[in-house]
């Protein structure tokens, strides 16, 4: 007990790292490429021009920005902005309220569907993975569902749930759950056996091994799956909003397509990209914290 190894300690993280100067160059490159994309966009819009019916195939950037006002048409009225359908003029205030309102509605559908799908998908994945027999029994039907073209299933959900919110939630949840279920089962399958061997030779019960070895060890794989499911779930929400919904970003998109207003499609898509990007960033931050131990 006399030997201490203190003097020979190898400290890998000794130097207090000075707050690193932010490398701005990637920022500049990002800005430059964004400018390039916008420039090309505008150029394409001008070159392609309008087709015979007067529709712009590619909307110009000023058109897109101006069509922000369309959100005023999707505001149910109140807070000093009248419904445009009721004769009120479209105001910037009304458009802002309309934007917030519709983003809020779509976001709530996304959140409920996503959380429901994640809980069901990961939960059943973990339940099934507990037993090897259950895993084998369920993995074929799961792959079968995964191969099913999701958007083609939408009418079925319409038939089952009508135009109720439950239909939107369950459709989104279905999209997320199938993906995460398959990923969870595969992740549990891939946990190196040496971990459970080591834990059982330390005296851990099967339940403890599952809860404190298997589940934490698959969190990095789940993180990848959850982040993959974000754009997936957003597509499902927007698609579901097409059927029988009065509000929501998917509804606006659908109407814009109906009237071939490419500029409205573009501005709505822009909003979707920003919102989906934000949900991705927030989730990534939380998940990165949970997996901060990963090498």
């Amino acid at each position: 007990m006399t030997a201490t190894l203190a003097p020979t300690l190898q400290i890998t993280q000794t130097e207090p790292t000075p707050t690193p100067k932010r490398d701005r160059s990637s920022l500049y490159w990002g800005a430059a490429s964004l400018a390039l994309v916008l420039g090309l966009w505008q150029l394409t819009s001008v070159v392609l021009g309008e087709d015979d019916s007067g529709m712009r195939l590619v909307p110009s950037i000023p058109d897109v920005l101006a069509s922000f006002m369309v959100f005023a048409d999707y505001w149910p009225g109140g807070l000093g902005a009248e419904r445009t359908v009721g004769g009120g003029g479209a105001t910037v205030w009304g458009a802002t309220l309309g934007l917030i309102y519709n983003v809020g509605i779509s976001l709530s559908r996304f959140a409920i569907g996503f959380i429901l799908g994640a809980v069901v998908g990961i939960g059943t994945g973990l339940l099934v993975s507990w037993s090897a027999i259950a895993r084998r029994t369920v993995s074929f039907p799961a792959h079968f569902f995964r191969m099913m073209p999701l958007l083609a299933m939408l009418p079925l959900f319409g038939l089952w749930f009508g135009n109720s919110e439950l239909g939107t939630y369950s459709f989104t949840a279905f999209a997320v759950a199938v993906l995460l279920f398959v990923l969870t089962v595969a992740a549990v399958d891939n946990v190196p056996r040496i971990y459970s061997d080591s834990a059982s030779s330390l005296g851990a019960s099967r339940g403890r091994i599952y809860l404190s070895v298997i589940i934490p060890s698959i969190t990095p794989s789940l993180k990848v799956g959850i982040l993959l499911a974000v754009p997936f779930a957003w597509s499902a929400v927007l698609a579901a909003e097409v059927i029988g919904k009065q509000y929501g970003l998917g509804r606006i998109l659908n109407f814009a397509l109906l009237y071939a207003s490419t500029n409205i499609v573009a501005v709505t898509a822009l909003v979707v990209v920003i919102i989906a990007g934000c949900t991705h960033l927030i989730l990534a931050k939380v998940l990165n914290h949970l997996t901060r131990w990963v090498d």
Partner: protein, 266 residues
């Protein structure tokens, strides 16, 4: 029989059982081609409490299979294995295992890794904290109690892995080439840590697979040579402890080394 009794009295053991006892242990594997391979072939041996055994031999000749059977990860095809008198049927905390591959739980801190076995066995929190603190002191990593494994060097991780197993106070310690790839200087430190922990409990037996003859001569009371799945040589190492460089390069050590090399080349 009397000799064995004496040996047990000498080692301070009061138990009447061997630490590890193998009787005619065989292990067959069926390859994908359908061919049957005898990995371990009728091994019989008795390891007394407190003994330090090093097992050497060529790769693929059954050393690790033997260890995995004692650990309870693999059932023997034939024969019986007992640890502390009770037959081995599955892994258990009486047999601590240090693997060649890194098995630290990356999602647990150093302290939580050391605590894992104690927690699994339902040891009260106060006692757990005390054991963890003691272990951290022995391995010289007090400052790293709350570090993630990824923040440690390879040698530090090995020390934590050993401490995690020793914290559990197993009767028998099984080690499968635990120090492969560790540089020479750090190896000496790790040997010291291992011997400290081993000597802390009088009756604790160690069964360690290694490739390194010098390591075996530094650590072992007895060296087993496993060839073609059989126990080809069971050699006592009568060198004084602690073993200094002079001891493991002296004439007696060289005689033992020579015998091992002869056994290898046969």
């Amino acid at each position: 029989m009397t000799v064995q009794t004496d040996a047990r009295q000498l080692s301070g053991a009061t138990a009447h059982h061997a630490a590890i006892e193998l009787t005619n242990v065989c292990k067959e594997f069926r390859l994908e081609s359908g061919e049957v391979v005898n990995s371990v072939n009728s091994v019989t041996c008795r390891i007394e409490p407190g003994e330090f055994i090093c097992v050497i031999g060529p790769s693929g000749h059954g050393k690790s299979t033997l260890l995995n059977m004692i650990a309870g990860f693999l059932p023997p095809t034939e024969g019986t294995i007992t640890v502390g008198g009770s037959p081995v049927t599955k892994p258990g905390p009486d047999r601590g295992v240090v693997f060649q591959r890194d098995t630290l739980f990356l999602w647990k801190t150093v302290a939580q890794n050391i605590e894992f076995g104690l927690k699994s066995r339902g040891i009260p929190k106060d006692e757990r904290k005390a054991v963890v603190a003691e272990m951290l002191k022995i391995i010289g990593l007090e400052k790293f109690a709350n570090a993630w494994p990824k923040q440690l060097s390879g040698g530090m991780r090995r020390r934590v892995a050993i401490a995690a197993v020793f914290a559990n106070k197993p009767e028998v310690l099984l080690m499968d080439e635990p120090f492969v790839g560790i540089d020479y200087l750090r190896l000496a430190q790790l040997h010291e840590v291992l011997l400290d922990l081993w000597q802390e409990a009088e009756k604790r037996a160690v069964f360690m697979v290694t490739h390194d003859i010098d390591e075996a001569l530094t650590l072992a009371d007895r060296i087993f040579v496993i060839k073609h799945g059989t126990l080809a040589l069971d050699m006592k190492v009568d060198l004084p402890r602690p073993r200094l460089t002079d001891d493991i390069t002296g004439p007696e050590a060289n005689r033992l080394r020579r015998r091992l090399l002869e056994e290898f080349s046969r």
